[in-house]
Subunit: 181 residues, 2 copies
DNA sequence: TTCGGCATGTAACTCGTTACATGATTTT
DNA sequence: AAAATCATGTAACGAGTTACATGCCGAA
């Protein structure tokens, strides 16, 4: 029992902000939520069907061009209630996420120090690049980032979190490098 | 194609350190690796069978007490090679892990500020507790923590990483709280 | 006219969790 | 004597990825 279907709430949250098609939702995952959630269209379409059956969303069919059909989904009042319930419910923190690189570092004593150094250096480069990408995105918020309640707040605050997370990762890799005598 | 079976390498890494039964491996996940990997016995036992079929591990059956059988697995030379190959292989960084709490914060503009504050405060308490737990574990390494190559290095270095990660999470939640006007 | 993007779906498979199932051993 | 822990397995199901499958639209 008690499976949680988080994808359900991720989709409800997205269509709550603005009505969207399955395709739009997939794009939103890749462009906005990717730093903490993602889903492929193959998972999204069946979930949309389910949410529609449950009365949490509805759709109208729109035509792009002459023939191409788009199903544009909107949240219902029931969907909105369900979403708010989920967001505001206090939950015990999740188990730590799996991390392949940490697993490799955990077993690193099997390697010679040069191989280990290469492993760390390559990871460091990639993490620094990601950090540059995230900091670049942050620029658009300028001097006065949105506060709670403002438009763009969600985007801003999770980006802030992504940067802090990535900085911690970079700092850790540097400590790993220092630990090689 | 190209599925990776990380559990395979996690288990190889564990039995490489020391021969172990399925039960022992499950305990090791919960006690040592839980900050970056975990697996239940229901996943471990079938994987052990598979690894044995592939010739990467072998086992002898031992008896605890009068009757109770334990299958104690050891890594083979082939298994060792396979493990080292995997550890030293440079990989592109993984997609960001999913995080339910970040998802909730992303949609937090739907809440009133008191509910949001409660959400953040509860999360902060839990994260701080986790940090205390991790720092407590760190104490046993004392003034001179192991360097690369030393016994206990893996345990130490991933614990260092877990602390940095958790500190970043705490810092982020504090920023979230500050962003409420 | 070709290529990249728009658009929607299903099938097959791996990964991972919860529950089912059983029984021995040790500790309180 | 009961409870906690040791010990091994399977079944059922949800979550998530890759591949299969199809076709339209706009721009270069």
């Amino acid at each position: 029992m008690s499976f949680i279907r988080i994808l359900k709430y991720a989709i409800l949250g997205i269509v709550n902000k603005e009505p969207a098609s399955g395709y739009d939702i997939a794009k939103t995952f890749n462009e906005s939520l990717v730093q903490f959630w993602n889903a492929k269209h193959s998972q999204i379409y069946p979930e949309l069907k389910k949410l529609n059956d449950e009365g949490l969303i509805t759709y109208e069919t729109c035509i792009s061009g002459q023939v191409l059909e788009r199903k544009v989904y909107s949240i219902t009042e029931e969907g909105k209630r369900s979403l708010i319930d989920w967001i505001s419910k206090n939950e015990v923190i999740e188990p730590t996420p799996k991390d392949r690189f940490r697993l490799r570092v955990f077993f690193s004593n099997m390697l010679d120090s040069d191989t280990y150094k290469d492993l760390l250096s390559y990871q460091l480069i990639q993490r620094k690049e990601k950090l540059i990408f995230l900091n670049d995105r942050m620029k658009k918020f300028g001097e006065n980032p949105p506060s709670f309640g403002d438009k763009g707040y969600g985007d801003y605050i999770v980006l802030e979190g992504a940067i802090l997370r990535e900085e911690a990762y970079v700092e850790w890799i540097k400590k790993c490098l220092e630990s090689i005598k």
